[in-house]
Symmetry: C2
Subunit: 204 residues, 2 copies
């Protein structure tokens, strides 16, 4: 099994010796998630934290009217879990599945706790991961509170250009908290604006 990607991810924040690396990788289980296959369903207990080696996963919430809201996308080199369920042991509030066939390494909660005791550097590693996740969510909250749908879309295209290639408009709309129809209207408006600008450039 090739652990080079996940080890490189960890090496961004902490240094491990050979024995620690061996111990860590012994706790991982490799899993392929086919397109549309589920990794977690609402109501289940989320027992793993997942490192995405390749592909695209989505975490989403389904409300009582059946509307899906995407909480996060996770592509290559991201960590994803239902952090609420994972931490508290309560039933999951979200679903996680694959938008493209993906490969992940799963680390069970119990083993993570073992790891914290055996190799305290992992406390540091996950402190940093959690801190960065907190920052990401907080900045997203700020944007949702203060920007219009059009501004959020433009922001998204700039912040996550990688996602634009690989994720359908419907999914992006769901992440932005708008309907796919309205995203289509926004894009059409932006196209007209761009056309106008282009014609202006032709005249200049």
């Amino acid at each position: 099994m090739d652990h080079s990607a996940i080890l490189k991810n960890i090496a961004k924040h902490i240094t491990l010796d050979e024995k620690e690396i061996a111990r860590f990788t012994s706790l991982l289980s490799y899993r392929e998630v086919k397109k549309k296959e589920s990794l977690l369903r609402e109501g289940e207990r989320c027992r793993n934290i997942n490192y995405v080696q390749s592909g695209v996963l989505r975490a989403y919430y389904i409300d009582k009217e059946g509307n899906e809201s995407i909480i996060m996308f996770a592509i290559n080199d991201w960590w994803v879990t239902d952090i609420y369920s994972f931490t508290t042991g309560h039933p999951a509030v979200m679903h996680i599945d694959a938008l493209e066939t993906s490969t992940v390494f799963q680390l069970p909660k119990n083993d993570l706790e073992t790891l914290f005791v055996e190799i305290p550097a992992f406390e540091r590693f996950f402190r940093i991961i959690m801190q960065n996740s907190y920052i990401r969510e907080q900045l997203r909250s700020i944007q949702n509170l203060s920007l219009s749908a059009e501004e959020r879309y433009l922001n998204f295209t700039q912040k996550y250009p990688d996602f634009m290639q690989r994720i359908s408009q419907k999914q992006i709309a769901s992440y932005l908290g708008i309907t796919p129809e309205f995203l289509s209207v926004i894009r059409s408006k932006l196209r007209k604006g761009a056309d106008r600008d282009e014609r202006a450039n032709d005249l200049s």
Copy 2:
């Protein structure tokens, strides 16, 4: 200086010996923040993480139209900082000030890093704090994406009954992402609903 509250907060997650406690408390600075006084302004570098011993703080964002959006309230026994600015060293995106005269303990970023090296248990403590903060923000994002303003308000009243006593409607509206006028309409609708229910009970 009385450190009992903050030490009790820390003891929820980690155990320290006498020497460690002494070292930790030596790094704290006590500060009183008067009502309306600022602890952090947008554009400044956020150099401290703050433990609120008493009072009420608010963290909020001001957008380009001048609208305030409250990111979080912090009352007794909460930790608050501009985690983005604190972590990255970039200018703060938010303001933090006091809604009531408050007392806080401030821990500077540099000293926190020292602490992580000297007493690794603090990596664990802040890993847990960051993880819980992440959970809180993620659940809030989910609510903002999937619930109407009225549902979010009802949720807020249930989740944070303490805040209802101490925080004005205007501030709560700002936290919920709606105007104070609209919150007033929601409350008026709910009152009428409650009245109707009461009359129904009288008849039963």
